[in-house]
């Protein structure tokens, strides 16, 4: 367990990041806007690794992007705040946001294999945030880059920093991107499916690396993924999103040993396991709703095997056990 966990239990200090009541909408020309994220609240404590999981259309990626002001055209934050070190990220001007990006909140992007510029050497790119934010002399930056590459376990870092991205394997490219995210020693790193494009054995290495870095530097991570297994092995606390809402949240053990929301339970039964698979996987009937589909009451109601009359009323996200919230009347 990280130091962060004890700090949280103490409940004294304010969280590093606290998002409250976030609503993101896609604007349309003639029709009403489509909600992408509805009333999303989450927090990340100092030194904590927090998982945000969901399937496509759950709104997890847009939630993460909104924090860095990286939402695509026509998608906007229309309500809520994101307090980070006593500032509201959503209220920052573009120049202020540029100061935050990379320096205070860094991003490890999804597609490691296309995130590095193929015509520039890796070292130069890893040092870029420092070049931009701190404006330190070249030799100093080069030394820093070597130390960073060493920290993400790239062998022979001095020589490798002069390599081009294609001379790096996929796992090493993702390590380099992680080094880049670390370069300004930001207190918070957003990792958007950082291992999805990588092979499973390399995926395991990156996960170990993130765990290491947290222990060494106390950096907090918000880890976005669709992979329950991955999140369960890495994160201290987990938020589960479905159709734009957080439907369940809690510490890892609570979520995985005692899931309260029928969606979380169904999702866990749907993933095949290495051993002891049932004859048939449990499935969720129907499909993930489009963001534009209005469903009165609980948004999972139409696919839920346990739905009953009161589910037509929207359930609040409420405490089901200590440190464990669920958005379900039955939890």
């Amino acid at each position: 367990m990280a130091e962060g966990a004890t700090a949280r239990d103490g409940g004294g200090a304010a969280p590093l990041l606290e998002v409250v009541g976030l609503r993101i909408e896609l604007e349309r020309r003639a029709e009403a806007p489509v909600p992408i994220a509805r009333d999303v609240s989450l927090r990340v404590e100092e030194g904590e690794i927090v998982g945000l999981i969901g399937e496509s259309g759950s709104g997890k990626t847009m939630t993460a992007k909104s924090l860095l002001g990286l939402l695509p055209e026509r998608i906007r934050v229309v309500a809520g705040r994101a307090m980070f070190r006593s500032r509201d990220l959503f209220a920052l001007t573009p120049p202020q946001m540029r100061e935050v990006r990379g320096a205070e909140i860094a991003l490890i992007p999804q597609d490691a294999l296309h995130a590095l510029n193929p015509v520039q050497v890796v070292g130069r790119q890893v040092g870029e945030p420092v070049e931009v934010h701190a404006r330190r002399p070249g030799p100093e930056i080069r030394e820093l880059v070597v130390r960073l590459l060493e920290r993400v376990h790239i062998p022979n870092p001095r020589a490798r920093s002069a390599d081009y991205p294609h001379q790096f394997s996929g796992g090493m490219q993702q390590r380099a991107l992680t080094a880049m995210a670390l370069s300004m020693e930001p207190p918070l790193i957003l990792a958007d499916e950082p291992t999805t494009a990588l092979d499973v054995t390399i995926q395991a290495e990156i996960i170990a690396l993130i765990r290491d870095l947290r222990a060494q530097t106390g950096t907090s991570f918000l880890f976005i993924s669709h992979d329950l297994g991955l999140v369960s092995s890495l994160c201290d606390r987990i938020y589960v999103m479905y159709a734009g809402e957080i439907v369940e949240s809690g510490v890892r053990e609570e979520i995985f040993d005692r899931p309260r929301h029928p969606y979380t339970r169904a999702l866990m039964g749907a993933a095949p396991r290495l051993l002891g698979n049932p004859e048939r996987l449990s499935t969720i009937p129907g499909r993930i709703p489009q963001p534009s589909e209005e469903i009165a009451g609980c948004r999972f109601r139409v696919r839920c095997p346990l739905a009953e009359a009161r589910c037509a009323e929207p359930p609040p996200l409420r405490e089901a056990a200590r440190g464990h919230d669920a958005r379900c009347w039955l939890a």
Partner: protein, 255 residues
């Protein structure tokens, strides 16, 4: 044996008029066989040669040395007629549900192609057969007139299975059939494969990086690395008691 491969070799060479690239050994002395009714998984990471192996058996990628036989006949030596019969007995389902259908044709037209080529169904009966197939894979038969982009990823993958089944194949070759799908959709598609296998009685070869998918679907498994088979065996045994270091690493990473 339905499929038997002996000492398969394949090297991909890059290079042009004046340059001969070093080449990548994609298949390094690969031998295996697949019995009728068997479900065989092939696991490995990117660059392990698993997809090349599948494409070789589909006769989409020619091999440099060795032999592949289907039902006793060498696939590289088939004449026109034999090749046509082979094509109808072996069908692929590919990974990417977004480009698996020609965007210009309706889903129904693409599925009907199999019946037209096989010629075992009256022209007038084809729409009915297409509807029956769509129903079999759990899709609304009305989707026959839809264009591919109007379907979700999971629906398209079901439709791709329907297209493959139209010619009543003896062997289905699946290349990462669910890795582009959400977990809950993957579960539906994997269950569907199992149901259909019971009903249509095809053999199955499943290529994936995802070991749990193989343990759910397959009786036996080949583990590939750098173009070679490093381990093979009954799925449960191999996962419980892996022999090679590489398989052990795969198993421990998959948890």
């Amino acid at each position: 044996m339905l499929v038997a491969a002996r000492n398969l070799r394949k090297t991909f060479r890059s290079g042009g008029l004046f340059r001969r690239g070093a080449g990548v050994l994609a298949l390094d002395d690969v031998s295996f066989s697949l019995a009728e009714g068997e479900s065989l998984g092939v696991v490995g990471e990117s660059g392990s040669g698993k997809s090349t192996l599948l494409r070789t058996i589909l006769r989409l990628t020619p091999y440099d040395a060795g032999s592949v036989t289907f039902d006793g006949a060498e696939i590289a030596a088939m004449d026109r007629g034999a090749l046509r019969r082979f094509r109808q007995r072996v069908q692929p389902v590919f990974q990417n549900p977004y480009s698996t259908f020609n965007p210009r044709f309706s889903v129904g037209a693409s599925i009907a192609l199999g019946f037209e080529l096989l010629g075992n169904v009256d022209k007038a009966d084809i729409p009915g057969e297409v509807a029956r197939l769509l129903d079999d894979v759990g899709l609304d038969p009305d989707l026959a007139s839809a264009l591919p982009h109007q379907l979700s990823g999971g629906q398209r993958q079901r439709a791709a299975i329907a297209r493959a089944l139209a010619v009543k194949p003896d062997l289905l070759l699946l290349d990462e059939p669910t890795s582009a799908l959400d977990v809950s959709v993957q579960a539906q598609v994997l269950n569907l494969f199992k149901d259909l296998q019971g009903r249509y009685a095809f053999s199955l070869m499943l290529v994936t990086h995802d070991l749990p998918v193989v343990t759910f679907m397959c009786d036996n498994v080949l583990v590939m690395k750098s173009g070679a088979i490093v381990e093979r065996g009954e799925t449960g045994t191999l996962v419980r008691d892996p022999e090679s270091d590489y398989t052990r690493k795969l198993v421990s990473s998959a948890v």
